[in-house]
Subunit: 410 residues, 2 copies
């Protein structure tokens, strides 16, 4: 584990040592919108699973709620594939609410009046954390494909450096859905002593062949776009918008259930009574998908999409433990609560059950709930009262067991 | 119904009337590989659902087995989205076996020693039947997007013209899977008196929102390719290979089940023990998908992909009957046998049940089997002994009821 280095925002920027200093400040640059950023220099390189050192790491993050004096109320929230650190504040790029405001906020299940919530942009991302759109210090130009590939474990190791930097030794809880849930599992496996409780939602201990296949389609769509330019589009002043939009459209279908698509759109036509007999968006579902694609390319970097999907594909927690998932949690004292959704076909309940079986085999403390929902994989981001009740109960119980006073007014 | 015009291959080609003649001959042109072709001139236009007339229609088709003297042993086989007329012979483009040789051939369930099997390339296709890559007689150049959009009903009406041309009044059976099954249902609804029995497999009476969404992703992938050129790529000497390959890859995932992908590939790596930490095809499933995409673009026209997917999206049989599917089969004397597969998530069993309920409500003669299989939607094309047994039994029983002698040796 990287040793804790206190923030030193006053370090002179021009100083040769400053490059190596850990610093936290709000930046105004485009790749780092209105978030605090932690920077780590060459003396604190991140050793990547790809076998190389990342000498200049920066991590964009957000916090919500006060850290208590004992530093025992910290909750780390991990985001999914295209999420970012703006879990519970207005997103500075899209102007939309944070992606997990359903669950995180004052009086919410992850209660920011009680807990100190941290959310960091993942390694490989494009919202302030080092990724392929970051400047390669060796060339002064964006990394592009010269950025080494990253894994879920690399993402978690980077988050551990951030926590060291913030002076947080142990987390009351790590929570996240989808790829966020993969990080939760990796946290529990890599740093069991730092994780008092873990809430992995709608996730899996390894990415399935079907999910790898869908990701590969998305990557091929991006790389087929001539404006991708072998990954050098930023340096060449273009953007593979069309390919990235197609990738997003394909992925978006997998986030919803057939039932949800049917309920939302059915076969309803767009603003007319009869089909146009053309290739415009005749059906509402087509128009919706096109909008999803167009909105996405305004906020996400195409190469980050390649890197982060690849990290998910590589995720296979058991592989690091002789192929036995239970060994990943051997002797763990972490409390686990797993949640899946009946209509989630991307990360079906079976994936969660596999994790529960492994946790049971390792003697861990685990509860599991499959929630009846027709909202598909996206259910973890949506209005799901049963999820809220489970998360609230689990967090509250963990907080009391960790020595926190009961929530006010309860 | 178009009246029967006998083939007249001897009509002088230069004659003004020749343009209007129905002719059957093998052509050597690239767009018509080694198949008989039926041509219909302006005096026999096809009225399309789009509200326009198609004045020059040609249909590429194949036949297998002898038509009996009473013309009572004809079975029409309808192909799926990217299929063609080469159901049971070596495909002249790919050099691979016909797409339904599992089911069609000597001694097979659709026994070409007993039945006269006809399979025609669908309207909008690219294997000899009029489609967007055909020459637009008005311009002398490929239609491209000037070809009017077609529907499943248009395809069936074109097939009815072919049967008239071939002198076949009534079909012993119409059979097909997926989009082929849609044609079977449309045949039974539009021409009940011409269909003695119907075998729709792994299909639906209307395309779901999710399926429309997947098709839209494919179309967007094609149209996002700069080499698509607004549909004029043939005239401009290019081909949107990359976009079409991405479309095929996305579609191909939907044809398989998660279990089949897992069984076939799991998370196995391609020719190595550890991942490359790059964007080459690391996993076998990636390599397989890329191959599927690359092979497909060698044999299929990109605009045909747009047209035929659109035809499927528009398919909603009940819509033509006041929204009541049972009305489509009112008073029908056709014998129906429906088949679905447990792991088919593109055309799930529920879709077949909906059809069965409608047929029951209309008092039709119907049997239904859901076959246990982990092969997904593609199961209808694969080695499925239960499907073979059902098809054999259904065809044999229909043949006897239609007055055919028992099969030899049985």
């Amino acid at each position: 584990m990287t040793s804790f280095v206190p923030p030193d925002a006053s370090a002179p920027k021009a100083d040769a040592e400053a490059e190596d200093a850990v610093e936290t400040r709000a930046r105004q640059e485009a790749d780092d919108p209105h978030s605090p950023v932690a920077r780590f220099g060459p003396s604190q390189p991140l050793r990547l699973d790809a076998g190389v050192l990342l000498p200049h790491l920066q991590i964009g993050y957000q916090t919500y709620g006060e850290l208590n004096a004992a530093r025992t109320n910290a909750v780390l929230v991990c985001h999914a594939l295209t999420g970012d650190q703006h879990a519970a504040n207005l997103n500075p790029v899209t102007g939309k609410p944070g992606w997990w405001e359903t669950l995180v906020g004052p009086g919410k299940p992850i209660d920011t009046e009680r807990f100190h919530v941290i959310c960091a942009n993942v390694l490989g991302g494009c919202m302030g954390t080092t990724g392929p759109s970051s400047t390669n210090p060796a060339t002064g130009r964006p990394y592009g494909l010269d950025m080494p590939l990253v894994t879920i474990r690399d993402m978690v190791n980077a988050q551990a450096m951030l926590l060291d930097h913030l002076g947080i030794d142990k987390l009351l809880c790590v929570a996240g859905g989808s790829m966020g849930g993969m990080q939760v599992l990796q946290w529990a496996a890599s740093y069991p002593e730092r994780v008092f409780s873990a809430l992995p939602i709608a996730t899996a201990a390894r990415h399935s062949a079907q999910n790898i296949a869908f990701h590969e389609v998305g990557r091929q769509a991006v790389m087929a776009d001539p404006d991708w330019r072998g990954g050098r589009y930023l340096a060449e002043g273009v953007m593979p918008y069309r390919g990235l939009a197609v990738a997003r459209m394909a992925a978006h279908i997998t986030y919803m259930s057939d039932q949800a698509l049917h309920r939302k759109f059915g076969r309803r036509l767009q603003d007319r009574a009869t089909p146009t007999f053309g290739f415009d968006a005749d059906f509402q579902v087509e128009s919706y998908l096109r909008h999803q694609g167009e909105a996405f390319v305004q906020r996400f970097d195409a190469n980050s999409y390649l890197y982060v999907t690849r990290a998910m594909d590589y995720f296979d927690l058991a592989a690091d433990y002789d192929g036995v998932l239970a060994h990943a949690f051997k002797g763990s004292k972490t409390r686990f609560c797993l949640v899946s959704f009946t209509s989630d076909w991307l990360f079906p309940t079976e994936d969660s059950r596999t994790i529960v079986h492994a946790l049971n085999a390792s003697g861990a403390n685990v509860s599991f709930a499959e929630i009846e929902s027709d909202k598909g994989h996206d259910a973890f981001l949506l209005e799901e009262p049963e999820l809220f009740a489970i998360a609230h109960g689990f967090l509250d119980s963990a907080a009391r067991a960790f020595g926190l006073p009961p929530a006010r007014g309860r």
